[in-house]
Point group: D2
Chain length 358, copies 4
């Protein structure tokens, strides 16, 4: 928690936390200040009165970029993310309200694409159990040692049925939230404000492409425990797209029909529709043409803009949607409604949305 400058001195004050607030260990909270102590095996093993088990949320997306400087400039100056680490060929970034080490990494490569998608798992024991389940499903699992990836400990990796490399990790370095309005604090944001940038509070979800949406969906549900909130069916009742969640949000991961291995987009959370407009203003000012939106999705009910980073990876900003508890029924959309399902205001898909991915 402590960043040497006193993490507790940098709460996000614009968002409701005054300067004097300390983030500290609660008397009734576990030793490390987390609400559950990952080293307390007894607690982690409890069930009805214990913490959630398994996958918590989307952790980070690792993409390749053909121009590391340009990509970094975009994700910091326009998107407003913060750099948490740099290596020779990679940049690690997080959003201001995220505690974990990074939610996006950029690696230089001659081609744009996705290295992997990483999901945060609650406890090391959950990781072991999930490793077992993936292996039993028949997929080879690689264990990555602590120290091999910046900002996190041991993880497992495997190629999903639709070809994306997936990582699961429980042990992630917490670097604390860092946003402050007090620009005179040395070292913080280099004296400049995040508010002329989009500055989403956090990464929200991602969407991948799969040749067999149904098979992939089954894998994520049966093996990894994702819940399906909505689905889009073609005329024969086959799944064209599925929306899956672990974090009680409308989706942490979605799958749409397309080539195996594809990344359609990853999405940042915004707090409301006015932030969506501000994002559009900032993107337009920076010469980034919007792909679709501001509009609303029928699926998830969320408000959205799609656009591309300067190297061609699709980004989304997203807000709204309902709170889908686990006992909420799955909502099914049929092919005759596909336009409205995806872009509720336009009522039709655009070509780019269907064809372009990385």
């Amino acid at each position: 928690m402590d960043d040497g400058r006193g993490v507790t001195g940098h709460p996000d004050l614009a968002e409701g936390t005054p300067a004097g607030t300390r983030r500290e260990v609660a008397p009734n909270a576990p030793r490390d200040g987390a609400r559950f102590d990952p080293s307390d095996t007894r607690q982690a093993r409890s069930t009805v009165a214990g913490p959630p088990r398994g996958i918590l949320r989307l952790g980070h997306v690792d993409v390749t970029v053909t121009d590391l400087d340009l990509a970094t400039a975009y994700y910091t100056e326009v998107m407003g993310m913060e750099i948490t680490a740099l290596t020779d060929d990679s940049v690690y970034l997080k959003c201001w309200d995220e505690e974990d080490h990074h939610s996006l990494s950029l690696r230089y490569a001659p081609q744009v694409g996705m290295d992997l998608m990483s999901f945060k798992v609650h406890h090391e024991d959950d990781l072991a159990e999930l490793e077992n389940r993936v292996s039993r499903y028949g997929l080879p699992v690689e264990r990555i040692s602590k120290g091999d990836v910046l900002g996190q400990g041991e993880s497992i990796r495997f190629a999903t049925p639709s070809g994306q490399l997936m990582e699961l990790v429980a042990d992630v370095e917490k670097v604390g939230t860092s946003r402050s309005r007090n620009l005179s604090e040395p070292g913080l944001d280099e004296g400049r404000s995040v508010r002329d940038r989009i500055a989403p509070p956090r990464m929200d979800h991602m969407l991948i492409t799969a040749e067999e949406v149904g098979e992939s969906t089954q894998f994520y549900m049966d093996v990894l425990g994702f819940r399906i909130t909505e689905q889009l069916l073609d005329g024969n009742g086959h799944q064209l797209g599925t929306w899956l969640e672990r974090s009680h949000s409308p989706h942490d991961l979605a799958i749409v029909h397309g080539p195996n291995g594809g990344l359609h987009h990853f999405a940042f959370w915004l707090d409301d529709w006015d932030d969506v407009r501000d994002a559009a203003d900032i993107l337009a000012y920076n010469g980034i043409q919007l792909d679709v939106g501001p509009t609303r999705h029928g699926i998830t009910r969320g408000s959205t803009i799609y656009f591309f980073d300067p190297l061609g990876t699709r980004n989304e900003v997203f807000t709204g949607g309902y709170r889908p508890d686990p006992d909420f029924p799955t909502l099914t959309w049929t092919a005759d409604n596909i336009g409205r399902a995806v872009f509720y205001y336009e009522g039709e898909l655009n070509d780019r949305f269907m064809r372009v991915h990385t």
Copy 2:
């Protein structure tokens, strides 16, 4: 518009769901359309890849009112809830986007107060396990039979350490969401729109009072598995208030120092700050004086208005706040910040907030 299945055929079209949308059983979803089938014991018992266990969310608050007609008029005409059942002395209500039978019940009694607070549990097995835990803690538990409460099956009840009667229930009748913009549909909302009413999509959380906040908090955490997101400490480090969650929101239940058995308020969710203003307009138009707000809480970061129903029970409308994952550290506020912690803009508590509860 009518799908022949009754009320549940009226998805909320204003919020992004076109007329032709069907809510139906997904091929990969359990038989009953729920994302997890409560009758599938194997699934319910799974862990890392299974559904959440234990308490899902606040289910319903049962309060007494001294004038049932007046209270009903307020909760339907001003708040915009829907009546799902009526008995001689009680009215059952739900918000338009809630699936379950009711989230509020009003019972006539000569005095205003709270009968009980009911939390939804995922599975019958979880209920049994929680019953065990409460008994082992030393509290007498009563089992209520199916049929004794409208709209739900078997439940357990017990007096919490701070004197409120608490109910846990897994088996709740799903009545579907019912909002529609098509006012000409007979029987729906009696030909009138919910949009001149506040019409929150759902109940969000509640706040109770306790003489021993620390002891109560420990009970909810250790026995029932709540996680603590924020706490307010007095000068000696004792808890004056704690914010607890099960649903990945900033709070499902909060406890502040006060007499045992007290209900401070229950809160409805709104989608954004503009809905908060609209709620203020509707309340003021209906002659309901606002107690506090529109303002922001330091704790939870949420935006809020407090006000009283015509019989004197405090209501809140609430939006915003961050998404507190289980690995997010607890945020601690100290007594010197109490004003800002509770009402960030005013920087001070008002007397009514501290003294008045039911």
Copy 3:
């Protein structure tokens, strides 16, 4: 509309005016409750300390429709306007916060088009003077007698240089604003709310097409006293579009290059960006595909949606923009910026926007 208690019985309570408010003659106000008494010639002739002179604002747009019932259903049920008068072949409508008799009329005809555009003039004397100026410019002027048009007295009409029929009128019947949240008032809004409709408070501006934008602009400025707030120039410095105002708003009338006599769209005012989203929701729910938006104009800075009524006349909802005082410099956009000038987020015009008008 009239509730038997007079116009003043329908203040807009949702917008901040409580039920008991009376709209009555102010001690220091002219006899008829208007802030300036049009019958007081001395006052109307004053200059620096007198009321504004000449054209006040866009008064009403008269369009033809090929299906009067369908058009009426759309403008009342979806747009949320109120019918103030009906004749055999015409319907007269106003927005809820407008005082004047109508701001839109629909007339049955075998072809969709515009009959005329009518601008409100402050005083009868101003009308006479403007009649003179138009005649001296060389355009034939017709004087229409009181009683020939519903809801208004004498007016003048003439074909503008670009072929649209223009009306100027000072004497318009005030019918009062009529919106109320109190649905139990008999006769008011027939027991139904305007809030499930878009319900803009007022008409805002209109845009016409002209073969010679420069010549037309000169006419509106020199003869009728419009002020130019923004202009779009082609590569040769010729005006492709001009934005003209009389009401201290970014535009009351705009002219873009196109066939003489064309109506590009008329626009309703909305109060903010959230109302723009709500309008999009209501349009989409009613199956009306959005043409462009929600987006922002570079020109005027306003937020906007374009769409078509069911017969093919383009509508806009518009909000925002700056307050352009008469001493504010004209803002010039050049052709290389045309995309951003018109649709700031998309950065490009769509074909429909350029080709389609009525």
Copy 4:
């Protein structure tokens, strides 16, 4: 403020104007780029087709402060105004979207108060005519020479019937709007963003106190040509407060009962309700306790926050309200509604609002 590229190099890009936009002389606009050329006497004298005459708007408020550094820090760092000039004892400031030299000046003095209120007049000829009218009313008028006040030419000054010193001026230096999102432009905003400050686009209105509200109102209406939009009457029908406009807004100047010579507050315009919340966040973060709000006025329908600058002068941020054309009837509020008239949500005045002014 000048970046060496001319004023037109700083369009407001965040608000919809891309980087390449030039503000230049329009072919159909007067020589100096203003929409009306103040040096063109013929034009200024025209009536129905000419520019507005007389007072255009509130120009600037000149207040005294007991700590010039503290006041300057507040109005720049928190309020986000820009310094346009400095002298030994005074600081001149403008909002980012204002063209004129300043809208606020701060002068060091041992006591907080108001030096004068200055209103912008359209043309020098109007100024002469208004001078005449004030003299004929019986008030001594002083003519201030060009060069005596920074940023403006000749003006007239007089004590109003309620004792405030009033200035009227036509000749004001235009310095251009200066906001840019491009923080790397040297010299612009010293490398820091205005968006962590409230940064209102412009000054909107002011409210003064008068012992005889009726007499004062009559003066502003009859002599200076203000129009009355709303009034608040006591039980005997006497005016307790009046709202007066020249700029087609709900009020440029308001008068409430109180000691002669008092300044109740001046108000900055914000674009919407979300900006009101952001202002509240910024004020709270900077330790400035809100006086009232966020709330809505019944009168004007506007949304508002009141608060005090660090030296004790009341500020307001204001948005919304209707567009009151000159033919709109005056709205009258009676004393039994005074609470709702002023603070619609609270339904009652607070003591500070009635007692405290400077």
